[in-house]
């Protein structure tokens, strides 16, 4: 059989578009070797809680690895994911029309720069494009938010291991939030254990599979120590966090005091006849970035204090 190849020609971007692409390519490389501040702080906190030699050895290895990755500027985990962007953009952001091309080319260039692993396999034709971009990769979720001139985006490298536990289901209202609890907890012992704990667990509650699934991904974009603004959702976050910790998955699922870095719930309204629920997990190496640009491409990195690209 002839080897199939993926056609990609770098797009002709405006000068400003090129500038944004270059900043994002640099940021993608950075995300691959430096964890966001909230994740680093949480891991340091959890490390202190583990007392047994095996668990301590695992945490020591993790900390040493992150130091080496920062120092050598190499991806801290070999699975650098299929990139995803979750975006809120003002209608008057000047590069809105070019955005898709900018993001795809930023991943293309960032992949060479970092270097990232080639993680785009064209489905059905079943070949790796060898460029880390493909049909629908990177995936781009865009909300146009008012008529402002700014843009903000989460950049997420989800590896295969922590993508595997993802599941969505539509419950009958009779199953209630009790059913939501069962759904999330079952997933932790069946798949969560292999998804590189301590995990960040994202729970989405909505109407249908896709709305719940997207909410569960938005939940992973929030800081690990954040809390839902809804009092009941926040209560569920704390109950699930304690509950999953008490299962005692420990680092890497070897058993231990803590299983999760946090549980975040994102909810939207539901149809009266359904409760859509979804769970997504982030591994301990939760490589998610957050970047805000104004119309002149001045940027802020709220999750990476002191970093300049």
């Amino acid at each position: 059989m002839d080897t199939m190849t993926y056609d990609y020609t770098e797009p002709a971007l405006s000068t400003k578009g090129q500038q944004m692409r270059d900043i994002l390519a640099d940021y993608i490389a950075l995300i691959s070797h430096r964890l966001p501040d909230d994740v680093t702080a949480k891991l340091q906190e959890l490390q202190k809680v583990e007392v047994d030699p095996l668990q301590k050895l695992v945490y020591d290895t993790m900390m040493e690895n992150q130091l080496l990755a920062n120092k050598l500027k190499r991806p801290s985990c070999q699975d650098t994911g299929a990139l995803q962007f979750f975006i809120k953009c003002g209608a008057k952001f000047p590069l809105l029309g070019e955005l898709n091309k900018i993001l795809k080319d930023a991943v293309y260039r960032g992949t060479k720069k970092a270097p990232l692993r080639h993680n785009a396999v064209q489905t059905f034709d079943e070949y790796n494009t060898g460029m880390n971009i493909g049909d629908g990769i990177p995936s781009i979720f865009l909300q146009v938010d008012g008529d402002g001139t700014d843009i903000q985006m989460y950049v997420y490298m989800a590896g295969g291991g922590c993508t595997l536990p993802g599941e969505a289901k539509v419950l009958m209202p009779g199953e209630g939030y009790e059913g939501v609890v069962r759904f999330v907890m079952d997933r932790m012992t069946s798949y969560g254990i292999n998804a590189c704990p301590p995990l960040l667990v994202g729970v989405g509650v909505a109407t249908s599979v896709e709305t719940a699934a997207l909410n569960s991904k938005f939940a992973l974009m929030r800081r690990v120590d954040s809390e839902s603004e809804n009092a009941n959702a926040a209560k569920l976050e704390h109950l699930l966090e304690d509950g999953i910790n008490n299962i005692g998955l420990g680092p890497q699922g070897f058993g231990g005091q803590k299983s999760v870095m946090g549980v975040n719930v994102v909810n939207t309204a539901r149809h009266p006849s359904t409760i859509g629920v979804a769970v997504s997990t982030g591994c301990w190496s939760h490589r998610r970035g957050f970047i805000k640009f104004d119309e002149d491409l001045n940027y802020e990195l709220p999750y990476n204090k002191g970093v300049e690209l």
Binding site: H118, I193, L239, G253
Partner: protein, 203 residues
């Protein structure tokens, strides 16, 4: 928890006293081998182009730098979910004679049978520590089935003190993760009951 140092080739005798929960550091030959390579051997009946008898495989898809002239550098390498290979592993061990299967998370009954019958170990490298692991790869000595792309190519590596590797299945067929899972599931049921009492938001 005992700590062991193993050098390939590994004999049945070298690993007979190693138990689940022990720590191993590996020196010698280790070849990355994952989904499609297992499928090719077991289902497509294509012989593995690298000899792994009495040596180690790692369920992994690394990041490699191509230095030209068939020379490569290991940039980042770490284990991938071993359970994906479970359906092939018993037959894989039988056919290849591999002694050490390195990966992430637990494996199932097929691998338990293989470890017991053919004297092999399944070991877990703490995942996500890909730079630490890459720095224990001395060099890449061979690359086969490159048509599978970077993650799936068989990268044959010369490694030094590669670890910590935590033994998840030993030559008695004992399985650390399966033992833990029983405990985890018991605790889970108790936690679910506790939480469900507090979330009756629909009234």
């Amino acid at each position: 928890m005992k700590t062991w140092k193993l050098t390939t080739p590994v004999s049945d005798d070298d690993i007979k006293d190693i138990k689940i929960g022990d720590i191993v550091y590996l020196t010698g030959s280790m070849t990355t081998c994952r989904d499609v390579a297992h499928r090719r051997l077991v289902e497509e009946h294509r012989p593995l182009p690298i000899d792994v008898r009495n040596k180690a495989i790692l369920h992994a898809g690394p990041i490699i730098k191509d230095l030209g002239n068939d020379k490569y550098e290991m940039i980042a390498v770490g284990p991938t979910t071993s359970m994906r290979m479970e359906k092939f592993e018993e037959e894989f061990v039988k056919q290849t004679g591999v002694k050490l299967i390195l990966g992430k998370g637990g494996m199932g009954p097929g691998t338990e049978r293989a470890c017991k019958k053919y004297k092999a170990l399944h070991l877990v490298y703490p995942a996500g520590n890909a730079v630490y692991a890459a720095l224990h790869v001395n060099k890449i000595v061979d690359a086969q089935w490159k048509d599978l792309g970077m993650p799936e190519t068989l990268w044959s590596c010369d490694v030094k003190d590669f670890g910590p590797l935590i033994v998840s299945i030993d030559t008695n067929g004992d399985n650390l993760f399966e033992k833990n899972k029983v405990i985890f599931n018991e605790r889970k049921e108790a936690e679910i009951k506790k939480i469900q009492k507090q979330v009756s938001f629909i009234k």
